[in-house]
Every structure is written in structure tokens, then in C-alpha cells.
């Protein structure tokens, strides 16, 4: 790899400079603690992510009573697994996929997303294309994610807001009756909990790359 002195020599510009200006001023005024910022970034980069949601899903698959509580009051149910509702999780609702109903989640206005169970949203979730087409052509979007929804399956699209965050409870894949909770959790993809994927199937390779 070449020596990247180019980057170091370039004066800071654009958003990097702007954010640094805001942060240093706010720190000097005592409004933020830089260590708290570091901790928060570390949390969302390394600790909170879709593995949390996968644990919730796997538990719901093996424990019918838990599933009932999860669908009734998701915030209380995830607390049973040691997951605090925390920011952007205060109003979590879980939507169950069935052989006749497929749920898919979007935030048409910005990027509301259930952070405690899924972490921060992927790039495409925030894109103009997904936010508009999830509403105008949801079956087409699903097709791009490799899912051909049978005509008889009802597709429900849920628009998130500050007050309502959704997580999809995907269907348990066939032939997994003998798997334990941890093995089951490994089958739960992030996209299956947004409704743009199904559990047990790796995320689709986009057709455009073929």
C-alpha cells in the first residue's frame, strides 16, 4: 500500500472540519464530554446491532409464550433478554410474518429505525430510492432483494416514525426443528427483520452485479 501522506497533508475541509468545529466548541462550553461521544460511537459500531434482534427472534421461535408477550408489548419483552429499550426503541412494535402476510418496514421521511434491536440502519434504508419505492412499488423492491412474494401473500408496508418503530418477526425456516436457540439466531439476517429478506437465506446478491 502506498504512503498516504496526501491525506495527511490536505487541510481539513467540508464536513470533517465543520463537525470538528462544532465538537470543540461544545466541549469547551461543557455541553458534551468527548469521552461520552467516543463511548457512544463504540456502542453503535461494535455493540448494538442486528445480533440483538436475532436473539429476540430466535427466542420467539422456540418459546410461544415469549412470542405472545413480544407481539403484545415488545419493549417489556426485549427487556427480559437484557435489552434496554434505550433511544429509538421506546416505542417498538414487532410485526409477525406468516404464510399469508409479509411485513416490510420503511421510514419515508427520514430514517427512524429500532436501534436497540437492529443497531443503526444500513445505507439503502436511508436512500431516497428505498424510502419512496417501498411505498410505490414494494413488490418490485422485494424482487431486487431476491424475494418473489407469491401473489396470494398480502404485503403490508409500515412507515416508521419517532413514535412507532417496527421490527419484523420473520418466519422460522423449514427444517430447523432440531436447532437450538443460538443456531437459530445465526439464521436471522438483518434484512429479514426489516422485511426485505427472509430468515435462513443469505442476503440476495443484487441482480445488477451478475
Amino acid at each position: 500500500m502506498g504512503h498516504d501522506d496526501h491525506d495527511h497533508n490536505a487541510p481539513e475541509t467540508g464536513p470533517t472540519l465543520r463537525v470538528k468545529a462544532l465538537e470543540t466548541l461544545l466541549v469547551e462550553k461543557g455541553l458534551v464530554d468527548p469521552l461520552a461521544l467516543d463511548a457512544l460511537v463504540d456502542t453503535y459500531e461494535h455493540k448494538v446491532g442486528p445480533r440483538n434482534g436475532a436473539r429476540v427472534v430466535a427466542r420467539a421461535w422456540v418459546d410461544a409464550a415469549f412470542k405472545a408477550r413480544l407481539l403484545d408489548d415488545a419493549v417489556a419483552a426485549i427487556e427480559e433478554l437484557g435489552l434496554a429499550a434505550g433511544p429509538q426503541g421506546e416505542h417498538l412494535t414487532v410485526l409477525e410474518n406468516t404464510p399469508t402476510v409479509h411485513n416490510m418496514v420503511v421510514c419515508t421521511l427520514c430514517s427512524c429505525y429500532p436501534w436497540p434491536v437492529l443497531g443503526l440502519p444500513p445505507v439503502w434504508y436511508k436512500s431516497t430510492a428505498y424510502r419512496s419505492r417501498a411505498v410505490s412499488d414494494p413488490r418490485g423492491v422485494l424482487r431486487e432483494f431476491g424475494i418473489e412474494l407469491p401473489a396470494g401473500v398480502e404485503l403490508r408496508v409500515w412507515d416508521s416514525s419517532a413514535e412507532l418503530r417496527y421490527m419484523v418477526l420473520p418466519m422460522r425456516p423449514a427444517g430447523t426443528e432440531n436447532l437450538g436457540e443460538e443456531e437459530l439466531a445465526a439464521l436471522v439476517t438483518r434484512d429479514s427483520m426489516i422485511g426485505t429478506g427472509v430468515a435462513g437465506v443469505p442476503s440476495a446478491e443484487p441482480a445488477a452485479t451478475k
Binding site: 495527511h8 470538528k20 458534551v32 430514517s111 445505507v123 441482480a207 445488477a208 451478475k210
Partner: protein
């Protein structure tokens, strides 16, 4: 699987983002992480409510969406999401009089004028060993 040519740049961006199969980095650049953390931290400490921030973020995104419709070629592959986030944060900080534009501009200029110490550092050769 049947191939379907992307109909426009936006679709292509969505597919490209999907290609990472769920392991894409949370933040593309360090400044995005800092901007994210600043908004969350300030909201938690009560300097503003999350809804106040969200309203401004929605407004910035709506503006960016409109610009993208006008000029699809100008759309960046990632979209301007964290640029919108940063603009919303700065506006809110100014509205709440936590910071004003003069001090922000002044600080940015000062930082730009005093680049990091590594700039133009030339090797001084190996350390002389007695």
C-alpha cells in the same frame, strides 16, 4: 437469477448498498460518527428533544430529495444522509443559541489554518545511535 439493468443511478446505489449483505460499515467516515454522537448526546442531556432534531432532519432530507430529483447525476452513491444530519444539527444548535454562526465559522477557520502536526513532516532520518 434474471438480470435487470438498473433503471437509474438511484436504483444502482440501492443495489450497491444491498450488495454488502448486512455487513456494511455503520459510518463511512469518522465525521459521520461524531455528528451522530453529538446529536444523540445533546438530546440525551436535554439540550433539545429528539423530535426537535428529527423535524429538522426531515426538512433537510426533503430538500436533498428534491435536489436529487432535479439532478440525479449529482446524487452521491451513499446519498447525502449524514450531510443532512449535520446541517440539521448545526441549525438546531444555532436556534437554541448553544452556538452562533460567527463562532462556528471562526473555529472552522482556525482549525483549517492550523493543520495537524503531521502535515509536511519530513523524515529526519534514522536516530543516531551512539
Amino acid at each position: 437469477m434474471k438480470t435487470a439493468a438498473p433503471t437509474n443511478r438511484v436504483d444502482k446505489a440501492m443495489r450497491a448498498a444491498g450488495a454488502t449483505g448486512g455487513v456494511d460499515a455503520v459510518f463511512a467516515e469518522p465525521w459521520e460518527a461524531r455528528a451522530f454522537a453529538l446529536a444523540v448526546t445533546l438530546s440525551r442531556s436535554g439540550q433539545f428533544s429528539w423530535d426537535e432534531f428529527r423535524e429538522r432532519l426531515i426538512a433537510e432530507i426533503a430538500q436533498a430529495d428534491a435536489a436529487e430529483v432535479r439532478d440525479a447525476d449529482a446524487a452521491s452513491p451513499r446519498g447525502p444522509y449524514y450531510e443532512c444530519w449535520l446541517a440539521a444539527l448545526e441549525k438546531l444548535l444555532r436556534e437554541k443559541a448553544l452556538l452562533n454562526l460567527d463562532e462556528i465559522e471562526g473555529r472552522a477557520a482556525a482549525i483549517a489554518a492550523s493543520p495537524p502536526a503531521r502535515t509536511k513532516a519530513k523524515s529526519r532520518g534514522p536516530i543516531k545511535i551512539a
